[in-house]
């Protein structure tokens, strides 16, 4: 069974791109959330091994999402999916507990490397 991943992005297209990359590489996408709020709920329900989290989202943005998820599970592995120009927000997210980040537009091997490495991280 592949590792369980929750994909969070408000853009359906982005979710699908990430999902397809993950599915092709043996991961299991257990859920997709459109905003931070949904992500927190789904995290509690699905207990994924890893979350990919967009930053700019309605309802609750990615940084608040990271905070809320880390409050639920201090060991949560979250990778931020940021866009160019969001440096400061990525830093905020890292301080909130995000484990790593990728920059959109991302290449397949970059996202895979980030996920593999975060999942391999000694706890």
């Amino acid at each position: 069974m592949g590792k369980k991943i929750l994909v969070v992005d408000d853009a359906a297209f982005m979710r699908m791109m990430i999902k397809n990359i993950l599915l092709k590489n043996g991961y299991e996408v257990v859920g997709e959330a459109e905003n931070g709020k949904q992500a927190v709920q789904m995290y509690a329900e699905l207990k994924p091994d890893l979350v990919t989290m967009d930053i700019t989202m309605p309802e609750m943005d990615g940084i608040e999402g990271v905070k809320a998820i880390r409050a639920l599970d201090p060991d949560a592995s979250i990778i931020m999916c940021s866009a160019m120009g969001q440096q400061a927000m990525v830093m905020d997210a890292i301080q909130a507990g995000a484990r790593d980040f990728i920059v959109k537009p991302f290449q397949q091997d970059r996202i895979l490397q980030a996920i593999e490495r975060v999942l391999s991280r000694p706890r």
């Binding site: 408000d10 853009a11 359906a12 297209f13 982005m14 699908m16 791109m17 397809n20 459109e34 905003n35 949904q38 700019t56 989202m57 309605p58 309802e59 609750m60 943005d61 940084i63 608040e64 940021s82 866009a83 160019m84 120009g85 969001q86 440096q87 400061a88 927000m89 990525v90 830093m91 905020d92 890292i94 301080q95 909130a96 790593d100 980040f101 990728i102 920059v103 959109k104 537009p105 991302f106 970059r110 490397q113 980030a114 490495r117 975060v118 391999s120 991280r121 000694p122």
Partner: protein, 822 residues
Amino acid sequence: MFTDEEVAVFMEELEEKLQVINDNVLVLEREGESPAVIQEIFRAAHTIKGSSAVMGYEKMSALTHEIENLFDRLRQGTMQVSGQLVDTLFDALDTLKLLKDEITGQAADVDVAGVVARIRACQLSCDAPPAGAAGAAGGGASPAQADAGGAARVPGGDELQRLLAAGLEAAGHAGGGGEGASADGAGVRERGGMPATAGDGGIFTGTGAAGMAADGRAGLSGSVDPVRTPGTGPDAGTTGASAGTRPAGEAGDNRVTGTPPAAEAGRNASAPGAAPPYRTSLPLEEAAEAVVREAEVRGYQAYWLDIGIDRGCQMKSVRAFLIFETLQQIGEIIKSAPPAEELQEGRYGPGFTVLLITKEDPGQVHDLVYSIAEVSSVEVRPVQPGAAPANGRPAAAAAAVGGRAAAKTAPAAAPAANGGVKTVRVDVQKLDTLMNLVGELVIDRTRLDRFVDIFEGKYGSDDLADNIVEISNHLGQVTNDLQEEIMKARMLPVATVFNRLPRMVRDLAHKMGKEIDFVIEGRETELDRNVIEVIGDPLIHLLRNAVDHGIEPPEERLRLGKPRAGRVLLKAAYVESHIVITLSDDGKGMEPARIRQKAVEKGLLTPEQAARAGDREILDLIFTPGFSTARQVSDISGRGVGMDIVRSQIEQINGSVEFTTAPGKGATFTIKLPLTLAIIRALMVALGEQVYAFPLANVVETLALKTEEIRRVRRAEAIVVRGRVLPLVRLTRLFREKGREEGRLSVVILGSAEKKVGVVVDRLIGEQEIVIKSLGGYLGQVPGLSGATILGDGRVALIVDARGIVKETGVEETVYEVNRAM
């Protein structure tokens, strides 16, 4: 490279987001700026930027990036919405639509440079503080501004030129503030509420100060606390952010005075001249050595870490920050090369070196660093400092880690209302198939009903029979529900059409020099997809007429005692099993006298006919092909192809259009549409054994008739209904069926547009709802038939193409036709 599905989702989402931008820009223009609206546009632009970049549509992502930047500044309040800005946004929106067409091959070589330049020019000229201050605040902004400068020469404007020059000059003075600051800054602005350029200053002012402390001898003297560069980074960042809420100029000063001395101090202290090359052990100056010694005493080990970073790394500054943060979890970073502030600005080559004190063993340190993406290599080398431990305060590592997180200020991203409806995109064809299958199910259910009746008759009411009745009833209920749900799934809100209109009305009004207050009500009203697709054109036409011919110019309206802005109301609502769309304006309305005159001029009526006709009949002439009353033909409407086409388009989908008007008060058009095209109400008639269905929308009335009442006009049959002559068609002849020709006949009067015709049938059965099925490919178009349906008993009923029959054989029932026939 991308699957069809991926491309489809991209295109749909693109369409959706463009609409969001369109709607919100209109709101922006009408109601001024509000945080929710700006946030919506910002997010939509952001989404397009990301998706189009993945797809490789660079022009699109570049343009949306500019829009995003612009709205970011609006969000920060460092510039205001102006008329020029709104116009530029509409330009940008049009360009985005062109870029979308370019993807589908409907456009080519779309140029974005012009509109990008205008957006940038807007940013400069709309600046709340003078552009010069923004330029001075951060040298990093110079590339963007230089670009804008080059492009802005096209639109010109002395003031703009002056501001640009000031900005560039200032940027030149500040110089070398870091690479790609326009991108870096965008992020920083998010949290602090400061302009981009000052933002850079804000965060790195803090870091710079920390860096000075780290590398300079003076600040250290045994205390470990200031050495935790990244640890202090956030705090300093927050300070910077709060500074940023002050006017831009001030924040700028902050940076200009703060950073350079800090950086200088750092260099002087550690390694004079250039930054030490990667993978070189630094000389440990006294202070750092003291810290390492002290740490050793307390059971820590010090390591040099040589960390290599992938060449393709996209956010080097954040990458370094993440590595620092991650290492901070297992220890303390004493120093680094290049210095921390340079690392955090992304100014490093293929890698960097840090000095870490930790209790972990080298293997664990290696694994931890290597668990970070884009780290290409890690080398861990133990440090052997001199023997004697220096006295000083202990390193309070844990406490510092704990205190750090709380200081962050949350970005104030007020979530704008956004209905959380969960949706799945389904091909309409699948819904059609489903609908068909349910149709089949309905038929089988009806047959089961009959079977149940037989069963009951045969076995009476024993348990078995009761069970079957119960099953049949339940099946019936479920089938009905299923049918209803699928019907609902095919429905779309009229908003999909209505949302395109405000922009069009705005452009029209601008062009015609009119002021329009355009109000839309009932956007959420749902209609079948097929109906939605057809309704757009007629609506646009009616709307153009209203703006072009209906609403008077503002001055004239004032003279007439009306408000300057004309009011146009578009409203959709459910009325019984129909949707009624009304479009009303408070313009000049229509004058029967003028139409009468025009009709005579155009030879549509003789003067006598015109004189005799009532006002209503005269008004309805606007639906006659080739009729236009516009005194001046504009390029907007009034080409004379108008209303007849509007009407025929609406009737094609079984709808009807009517209007009322009062001279000087305006006009109201009422369009009545069926909720769906898949199911219609029909009048069922029999012809021999065969059942036919007439769409009820075209049935005017039914009559019983004796054969002797049929008259002959030349070689055709006709009947007189309330003094009007109508041609008579026999369905038996049309379809070469055998039927009764004698005695009392049943006649169905069909109407479409202004034409009417009587159709003779054997027997009327009654009204019912039928599910339309096509005749299928192998039959194709059969003259006189528009489809078929399956009846409850499994027989096929044919649907009569009522409009076709009326068009071919009907006569116009307007006065003059009647007069001619008499």
